[in-house]
């Protein structure tokens, strides 16, 4: 295998960047701080370049549909027109760009997200069955939290809010604390596994 193709090179890059940003936090070493600042700057630049990868993927996919004149290709043409319209208006007519973003894009984004709610209700009706104690506990918390976010329940029966807030502040808080500690330990474990070469999923 040629040198550039070796899997060890990304691992070495990961290890160097990881250790510098980790040690910079715990050690007061001036040159380490300067190196970390520069590496972070490089990472910010690379992350900005990375924003374009999704764009390229979409362009390739929809470009192929247009070139091959597949069924519904005019929809892909609309995508490119809308993309170029907003992009160019930021340079040519910024007021129109603000109008497009604030008055058209934002409300339309909200409208597209609406479906989750409808499917939540059908999921509750079709699939939510209390088959065991775990599901019963889950349903108990879910019902009281739903009642907490419906002001009518709190107005008519204030005790529902008391119970819901107790669930939030006591058992939920304790369990979530345990989850946070578990997530932190897991993050450290994953990082060690990557350093030792056992995990390669981050490389794609």
């Amino acid at each position: 295998m040629s040198l550039v193709r070796r899997r060890e090179i990304p691992l070495i890059i990961f290890a160097v960047t990881f250790l510098i940003s980790l040690l910079e936090y715990y050690l007061e070493v001036p040159f380490l701080s300067d190196i970390n600042t520069e590496i972070t700057n490089w990472v910010l630049i690379m992350s900005t370049f990375a924003l374009g990868t999704g764009l390229i993927a979409l362009c390739l996919y929809h470009g192929k549909i247009i070139m091959q004149k597949k069924n519904g290709y005019f929809v892909s043409i609309i995508l490119f027109i809308s993309m170029l319209m907003l992009f160019m208006s930021y340079y040519v007519a910024p007021n129109f760009a603000d109008y497009l973003y604030n008055e058209i894009y934002t409300p339309l984004s909200i409208a597209i997200i609406c479906f989750t709610a409808f499917y939540n209700y059908t999921a509750i009706y079709r699939a939510f069955r209390i088959r065991n104690i775990d599901a019963a506990v889950f349903a108990f918390a879910a019902i009281f939290l739903m009642m907490l976010y419906a002001p009518i329940f709190e107005t008519i029966i204030p005790q529902t809010a008391t119970v819901a807030n107790w669930i939030l502040d006591v058992p939920n808080m304790g369990a979530s604390r345990g989850v946070i500690i578990g997530v932190a330990l897991g993050t450290i474990a994953i990082a060690i596994r990557i350093l030792l070469g056992y995990e390669r999923a981050y490389m794609g």
């Binding site: 690379m46 104690i133 669930i167 989850v179």
Partner: protein, 221 residues
């Protein structure tokens, strides 16, 4: 004029998006690609603008070494080539490494030590009810952490402890689920509040007529 035209346009686009509730159709797809297209257009603008600020201007003012992250960043695009895909891993490794370093270094003081410190209280300052609640929360925390311990079999007293942890997590996830029902519903409520106003509420009648016509047409066939 724009007080009438803009709400009508947005109302029409909203109803086009919602038409998926009835069935899959071309109007929904148009609304969907508009969202994706506008999103892509803005992302392209903000990427170029940010690159200009953090890379191009410093590069042109003398920081020649910034060509290296630019090359690494461009190497990310080799992910679309089966032959040169391996080059994209270098930049991904750098981004992942820095992010992991920052996450792990701060995870210890904030997420572990900070949270364990939260378990400690002055018992003299607590009322009896607060003390009971604190004990319940502490047991929930410890049992949840115990649940994720897989090096010991969940049997006997340990199994009992992990069962309490599971129930605590069910309470936590149930709370999240109950709250998420509201969080997801609020989007529909906002759009409905918008559609209820004049002149866009007239579009509701048009939408109902459209659907009625489609139902009639499909029944006929």
């Amino acid at each position: 004029m724009s007080e009438v035209i803009t709400p009508l346009i947005v109302g029409a686009l909203t109803l086009m998006a919602w038409s998926l509730l009835y069935r899959e159709n071309v109007f929904y797809r148009i609304a969907e690609v508009l969202v994706v297209g506008f999103g892509m257009g803005y992302t392209l603008y903000i990427s170029l603008s940010t690159l200009n600020d953090i890379w191009l201007q410093p590069l042109l003012s003398g920081k020649w070494w910034l060509i290296i992250p630019a090359i690494l960043g461009l190497m990310l695009y080799t992910i679309y080539s089966k032959r040169y895909m391996f080059l994209s891993r270098w930049a991904m490794a750098a981004i992942a490494g820095a992010g992991a370093g920052y996450a792990v270094s701060r995870a210890v003081p904030v997420m572990i030590i900070g949270q364990i410190e939260g378990l400690g209280v002055k018992f003299s300052e607590l009322s009896p009810l607060d003390l009971v609640n604190h004990i319940i929360a502490t047991i929930a925390c410890i049992s949840t952490v115990a649940y994720f311990t897989f090096t010991r079999e969940h049997k006997g007293w340990f199994g009992g402890l992990t069962r309490i942890g599971r129930w605590s997590m069910m309470l936590a996830f149930g709370s999240t689920f109950g709250a998420s029902l509201y969080a997801n519903q609020i989007f529909t409520i906002e759009r409905a509040a918008f559609l209820a106003k004049y002149p866009q509420n007239l579009l509701l009648i048009v939408a109902v007529l459209f659907i009625a016509y489609d139902v009639f047409k499909r029944r006929k066939h």
